[in-house]
């Protein structure tokens, strides 16, 4: 199973390769379009093939991610899952109010973060020590904001608001708020 760091690495590689390829194609085109040529029309078959390729790419991206990114299916069908552990968090006056000083769960458990805003729209994100993102969601007042997550590795994570809520929002950081420990049986 892959975690969010692996997904981000995969995306970095895929997009970098694409970027280099399209820049090279455009560079090649820019040079060739100024050179003498037959001035022949592009065949419609090539055009329709290209459009077909775009359709396949556009649709298959979502099918692939649905089947390979572990949290996607769980996210869209949250009602079908029973969390092993739930943490209820309240946000008010640009401050996270946690149920205890540190939230602790075990590797492999399905953890639910249920975050309620009593005033503004905020964000809720978990970050690793190197500042990379594990997960995030919006925290909208007047609505339920819940996310299920299965942690694959032990670690300590920082909570940070991922949505702008005015200049005061930059201080909405709770360092090392979530601790994931190895399974007790291990």
């Amino acid at each position: 199973m892959v975690d969010s760091a692996a997904v981000l690495n995969g995306q970095t590689i895929a997009y970098t390769c694409y970027t280099i390829a399209i820049i090279l194609v455009m560079g090649w085109f820019a040079i060739r379009v100024t050179k003498k040529g037959k001035g022949s029309r592009v065949k419609p078959a090539l055009f329709y093939t290209f459009v077909g390729m775009l359709v396949v790419l556009g649709v298959s991206l979502h099918i692939v991610t649905y089947n390979t990114i572990p949290w996607t299916e769980m996210d869209l069908h949250r009602g079908d899952y029973t969390p092993d552990r739930s943490f209820n968090i309240v946000v008010e006056n640009h401050e996270f109010k946690l149920p205890s000083e540190q939230l602790v769960a075990e590797v492999g458990e399905i953890v639910e973060f249920d975050v309620t805003s009593n005033d503004l729209t905020y964000g809720f994100g978990l970050f690793r020590a190197d500042n990379s993102m594990v997960l995030q969601m919006q925290v909208v007042p007047g609505h339920r904001n819940d996310i299920l997550w299965k942690f694959l590795e032990p670690g300590v994570f920082t909570i940070r608001s991922t949505e702008y809520s005015g200049p005061k929002g930059i201080a909405m950081i709770v360092k090392d708020a979530v601790k994931i420990v190895p399974k007790k049986s291990e």
Binding site: K36, Y66, H77
Partner: protein, 542 residues
Amino acid sequence: MSFFKTFMNGEQGLFKANSLTPMQKMVLRFVVVGLVFYAFAVIEGMIMRLYEIGPFDAVSNDQFFAILTAHPLVGIFGSTYATVFGAFLFLVPFLMKKPLWSIKMANWTWILIAVGTLTFWLAGFISHYSPLYTLYWPLPADFEQFSVWGGTIFIAGIAIVMVGSGLFVFNIFKTIMYTPEGWEKQPAGRLLGSALGTSGIANLFRKKDKKREHLVPLPVAAIARGSVDVGLNVLIILFTGVLILVFMVAAIIGADLKDTAVDALLYKNWFWWGLDLIADGLVLIFVAGTWYLLATMITGKKLFMQNIARAALLVELVVSWTVWSHHLLADQSQPAILKVLSGEMVTAFELITQGLAFFIVLATLWAARPLKMTNPLKFLLGGLLGFALAVPAGIMQADVGLNRILHNTQWIVGPHVHVAILIGLTMTLYAAIYVLFPIVTNGAKLYSQKLANIHFWLHLLGGIGMGAFMGMAGLKGMLRRTLYLEGEFETLMILAAVSGAMLLIAFLVFFYNIVMSLGLNGVIGIFQPAKLKTKDLVPQES
């Protein structure tokens, strides 16, 4: 010619503001306003780039967020709207071969855009009103963080811009449909149908010998369809502005309206539906239309697959009304069906429609080989590259799985937003400016081709570089719309700032080149009343 003489009178003194028609003056006024506000946006952008490396004393955090709020609005409304509206108010009569319905209304359009933009910019600068362009409820009505008076003037400024935008839409459709004095009666309904695409749909159900010809050229159809989105966007933003003003006026008179009266998620859906008409509607449609026009003007040939291109513009319009949910993939209360259908699947259509436009333009250029690498061609290729980079980046983030770790990161605003706007949109606009330059200036000469080349490369490399380094920071977890006070992403932010500086220098080079081409007297003359009393686009004798 001495430097001073060129600076005052333009390159070889060729530009004579007195020789301009009212239409030429009108379009040049729009362009000047657009460039001045582009300067605002690029300087603001540079300040923010430096502040992202590490805050400094000259700017407070509150001021930073006020700049962050004003920056995209100045860039889109003050700069892009002004340049695009000016160009289209000239091009629609040019392509339809009939006078603009109202030059006076067109002049009011740029005045309202300029006054409105300056109003909200000043309100933000002085009062630090900073709920961002997203205005997530109830932040715009949070008077503990923001000045109610600052907010009121800010919203009023936006409303003025919207009124100007509404006048543009009205003028465009009237020009397409009206019958000029002394002309044979024009088929207004059929012209409108052709512009919007309904006649094209009807053709699908007609027998071959009864199919009707398209009455408006393809670029006009693009402008009309993009203008539909401009009009809808005006209505949404004006309505939202009035809603916010109700809370502001209540606060001013001492009444405290309950902000819970507005549902935050419903508001977010409503506002993004309207706001996305800019990003996914009018920008993509206007850009595709401009690409098609540029390709045919550069090559002098018919557009490749032009019937498909025309149909795709209609698909893009419908798509633009149904994609908003990709902005709410991280909202857990948003129904999953909307996330998948609107957020993922319909959004993927943008890859298809924009990819199709990309291919059609390249195929049109290819068929006309060999082409000279002129300024319009090189900037057009830059614009095509910009969208080829930015659209796939956007499709990736419009995925339920990937959005969980990309939403609100620098990835969104770097490789997607800034590459789309700075490389895709802005370079397309530069191509249009270079094409229109000799037409609207009665043959003024560009001061320096060398400077035009420097502008091109600095802008292209600076824009791609900035997007790339912001994107790398985003993939490493750096959020947008916040500040990192412990130098967490310092190296990448320094590299992004260097790229940003290239963009700033590129603009200064371009601006200098244009001023030296027209001369200071010429630029001033653009804003003086036209001596020629005609509705013609260019002087008769030329």
